[in-house]
Amino acid sequence: MDTTLLQQMLLGALLGISVYLPLRCGQLSLATPGFYAIGGTVAALLSTRIPALGGDGVSYPISSVLLEMALAAMVTGILALGIGKVVLRLRGIYLAISTIALVEILRVVSLNLSFTGGAIGIFGIPQPFASPEGYVGFTSLLLAVVCWLCDRLERTRPGLAMAAIREDELAAASQGINTANTKLLAFVLSALVAGVTGVIAAHFLNSWNARMGNFDASITTLAFVVFGGTRTWLGPVIGGLVLTALPELLRPVGDLRLIVYGLVILMGPVLFPQGVITPERLSRWSRMLRQRLRLEAPTP
């Protein structure tokens, strides 16, 4: 498998997690590409306009990338806090529509501002890594950290509160859960992950423009979660990896790949209504694996 595709898969997994976090509280937010676009724009602007960060047109220090990530996290976090307070009053499909509107607004604004390069975008973003392998290593590390944090979240109080809100918001509130704050937390975390992912994507892609965060991207990233599952963080990770790789791996079958891709997205929810990865399925698999290992172990 070529490393460029692997890198795209890792970015897909991160975006999957970003869509998953609000969905864990039952909130269908499609704002992820908007925050992803903001993250990328922050990185593109800083690395091409501010010489002090060490961009010489080609290479770029990794410390500056980390700085960009921190800044992108701050910008997306604050924006998500402000927007979330308002839009999270909406439920279900209305929340989805308003977040689609947010993504579109951000796209049109970025298209019409001069400093974001308008329709052309920003070119010649310097490279912190000389090869795709470097990107893969760095992104894998980031994905591992994000997965670890998600795992901790799910095993502790806020994670359980989120699941309770997904199951029954009114009942959750009557258990003393501040539902508004919990949903806001998930929305902000989702924005942070998307923003930080955008930073890496901008460097990796070498150019950034307003089309990076659009409605298509909202639907694609949502498909990651619908396919993978909304019960545990592993679902969107698998969904992001598989669904990003699939169109490329299917290239040999020509135009048929679009049909196959569509079929996979269609059959996923039909065969696995809760997504491919669920906690129950995971524990069943681990039981089966353990049994097999025991069988294969030599009997004394």
């Binding site: 944090l149 029954d168 009942a171 258990q175």
Partner: protein, 256 residues
């Protein structure tokens, strides 16, 4: 007389042209079991919703230990020590029974963020303690065997019991029970009556209970309040309520 634990003064709630709760005043004293009776549509559940902050009050005042709490959000009301169950069962259906009760412990499960992040020993110790408390509650209601099964796999009666266990996990002072015996057979109803007495004594609870099953209410409650068409029509000890002409008329219809 001392300040009541919970007092409602002239509560009103309108839904369009309908007065669901009409000028109802209510005092719940510490340690008592107060029953709320009334025909269907009398406004009993609406009154519960007003008290627990689920539905906003149109006019009127609610006080907790003499402090006004009118208009408080329901998570804040829960924080005071008022727990409730729901007439139509509102469990977290795909979460395990244990997790349902763990959610009930939400306010008592706060842990230091760093400790939770790095799963330190104190974190695990507290988590284990909470699990034990949740399991003990499941045990109390006889559903410990189902701890790891999803809530929606339980029978109807067990779901009702699980909801009570979850409410008790809030460690409340006042427990609002909305038709806890609905859908139970006579034998189960008797058991439930015993159980409510038992938990009331064990957890030093004050209980406000809605129930249609009159014999159970007569047996269980210290005092009864009867509502009809959103208004209080009678209030007093069970023996007196049983003879009250207004109550008999509400249930059986007037003589002419």
């Amino acid at each position: 007389m001392s300040t009541p634990l919970l007092a409602a003064h002239n509560l009103n709630r309108q839904f369009g042209g309908l007065m669901a709760v009409n000028d109802v005043s209510l005092r719940v004293h510490q340690g008592e079991i107060l029953g709320l009776l009334g025909p269907n549509g009398a406004g009993k559940t609406t009154l519960f919703n007003l008290i627990s902050g689920v539905t906003p009050v149109s006019t009127g005042r609610i006080e907790w230990r003499g402090v006004p709490i009118t208009g408080m959000a329901s998570h804040a009301v829960a924080g005071l020590g008022i727990a409730r169950t729901f007439q139509n069962l509102r469990l977290f259906p795909t979460l395990s029974c244990l997790d349902n009760v763990m959610v009930g412990l939400h306010r008592h499960a706060r842990q230091k963020r760093l400790a939770a992040l790095f799963q330190t020993r104190p974190f695990h110790q507290k988590q284990a303690k909470l699990h034990q408390e949740a399991l003990a509650l499941l045990e109390l209601f006889g559903i410990a065997d189902a701890a790891h099964r999803p809530a929606n796999s339980l029978s109807y009666g067990d779901r009702r019991r699980l909801e009570m266990a979850r409410a008790l996990a809030n460690r409340p002072e006042l427990l609002l029970l909305d038709e806890p015996a609905a859908g139970m057979n006579p034998h189960e109803k008797d058991q439930l009556c015993e159980l409510i007495r038992q938990i009331q004594a064990q957890f030093q609870l004050t209980v406000l209970i809605i129930e249609h099953h009159v014999p159970l209410m007569m047996q269980l409650c210290d005092r009864l309040v009867v509502l009809n068409f959103g208004k209080t029509i009678a209030e007093g000890p069970p023996e007196q309520i049983a003879k009250d002409p207004a109550v008999i008329e509400a249930y059986l219809g007037g003589a002419g």
